[in-house]
Symmetry: C2
């Protein structure tokens, strides 16, 4: 419904919103920018999601954050009052481990990332290197001749968010990837996290660095790659045409929805705003057109009155 | 002469090669892959260059290597037997300092790179941060709140080769670059240095990382950007149509020649070979066509008999 029209749900009648609510059974939502912002809850989001569950929708959280396991993301969600279970968490660290497992990967993974990834690899019995600092020692010549040790059984390089990203890690990753049989997997390609006075580099900037010196393209697991939702779709747990994707970032969330055939809802509590959508509507680039959501709300919490009204049959 | 035909000079008659030698007054040559390989001299190159100088050609060395000053590159050249002077050295570290000086830059430079850059900045009186290790301390939160200090007077971020590249450096660079008035300069974008069992990341991989998290495009000083030869051309020290560019790498050296209107000679002692040129000749991509050199030689030293023959009037 309202396919790529960016219809503001607040401009519709109650009956129209109710009809729209009936058009999907499953809701997949991004986390940061929709449910919370850097650990601070966004008012109304928990009530809206919990009430969507109450009226019978399946609920999934879908994040490109590779630093946490599903169990850790679950705890964060539950602590904030969301009625969610571990099966309802779709994360890139978990999806990366699931991808390797599904491909019967039996070698060792060189990990640029954090324990979010290594714990998920442990959970499926895949061997990996340790994460944490790997700092430069001595001159370039000394490093190359004395300190740089490559392991023989590495069959994949996985790159996620890593605050210990360094030249030695780049050299090792690019060297492993010179073997064309070594897999190159990026958890996600989010470029950065802008903060009031700072820009924190995102996984995408590490991935680009490795991609450049390795001269290879990675397999990207995270949004907007449908791979992250493949298990749900392939096992017919969700019906794409009756699934709603909620997000604040068009080039990950809305585009994932476009790529999977989901309905899409953009909320204005994060990265992209109606002004961005207006630009994409004017653009002559067909790629920009894919970013236009079906419907829009200023905040996810704005949906609450319609859901409660629907549940009670009126009089909210 | 022989414009973009990749004519093998060894297939021409002596008189034809002599006529070709008369078609240029200046010779700009790449270093690594033409004159030496990782510090090992390539046989015949020094004799060929020195004899070109003897028959009256102006000689310039042009390297994207940002880790050395002009003085250091001069010493390396002289130690290998080249008859060259400091004015004959064109390097990205020097060119970066010259670019900033020419633009009356009066603030401070945040340098990701080595002393090759900072010494050249010192030489023109431009303030800069120190180079060397800047390692991650503690957790991401601790780093952000306690260790990360941004300076107030940074007006440019310069990115070159830096074996101490790290997450703190990326965060600082991207944060400085969130000010649109802060210049973003890359010494060069060479992707990597492949070695027998290793891949060493090049400046281009650091530049890509910063470019991604800063969401900005850099000004690239190095080859193939004509900026690196702009002083020679603008001050009419060389006449582009009577200048020969010699190189082993088409997407830096030959493309620089194309961009500057120089004649071009590809040698087979480095990255690109005749088989690559054959592919570009077949390609339908107009960008590939720019990579086809005018003439080709297996080694620069193959030119020696023709120069000496020309100098002596025959009987070499």
């Amino acid at each position: 419904m309202y396919k790529q029209t960016c219809t503001n749900l607040l401009n519709l009648s109650k009956d129209e919103v109710k009809a729209w609510l009936d058009s999907f059974d499953s809701v997949i939502t991004d986390c940061d920018g929709v449910l919370w912002v850097y650990g601070e809850p966004i008012a109304g989001s928990a009530d809206a999601m919990n009430n969507l569950k109450t009226i019978g929708k399946s609920i999934y959280f879908c994040t490109n954050n590779s630093t946490k396991t599903r169990a850790e993301l679950l705890k964060k969600g539950v602590d904030m009052g969301y009625h969610i279970t571990e099966n309802g968490i779709i994360s890139t660290a978990h999806a990366t481990a699931a991808y390797l497992k599904a491909h019967n990967f039996s070698k060792k993974v060189y990990v640029i990332g954090s324990e979010g990834i290594t714990k998920e690899l442990d959970a499926v019995g895949i061997a990996h290197t340790t994460v944490g600092p790997d700092q430069m020692h001595g001159s370039l010549g000394e490093f190359m001749s004395k300190h740089l040790v490559l392991e023989k059984d590495i069959g994949a390089v996985v790159v996620g968010f890593d605050e210990h990203f360094s030249f030695p890690k780049m050299t090792k990753a690019a060297s492993y990837l010179s073997d064309p049989n070594c897999l190159f997997i990026a958890t996600n390609t989010d470029e950065r996290f802008p903060m009031p006075t700072l820009v924190v580099p995102g996984s995408g900037s590490f991935v680009r660095a490795i991609q450049t010196c390795a001269e290879r393209e990675p397999i990207v697991i995270g949004k907007p790659n449908p791979a992250i939702c493949a298990p749900l779709i392939n096992q017919k747990i969700i019906d794409p045409s009756r699934t709603l994707m909620v997000g604040d970032r068009a080039n990950t969330d809305v585009l994932l929805g476009y790529n999977c055939g989901f309905q899409t809802l953009l909320v204005g509590t994060g990265i992209h705003q109606l002004s961005d959508v207006a630009e994409w509507k004017q653009s002559k680039n067909p790629e920009d057109k894919k970013l236009i959501p079906d419907v829009y709300l200023p905040r996810l919490g704005d949906l609450l009155p319609f859901i409660v009204d629907k549940a009670t049959g009126g009089s909210y």
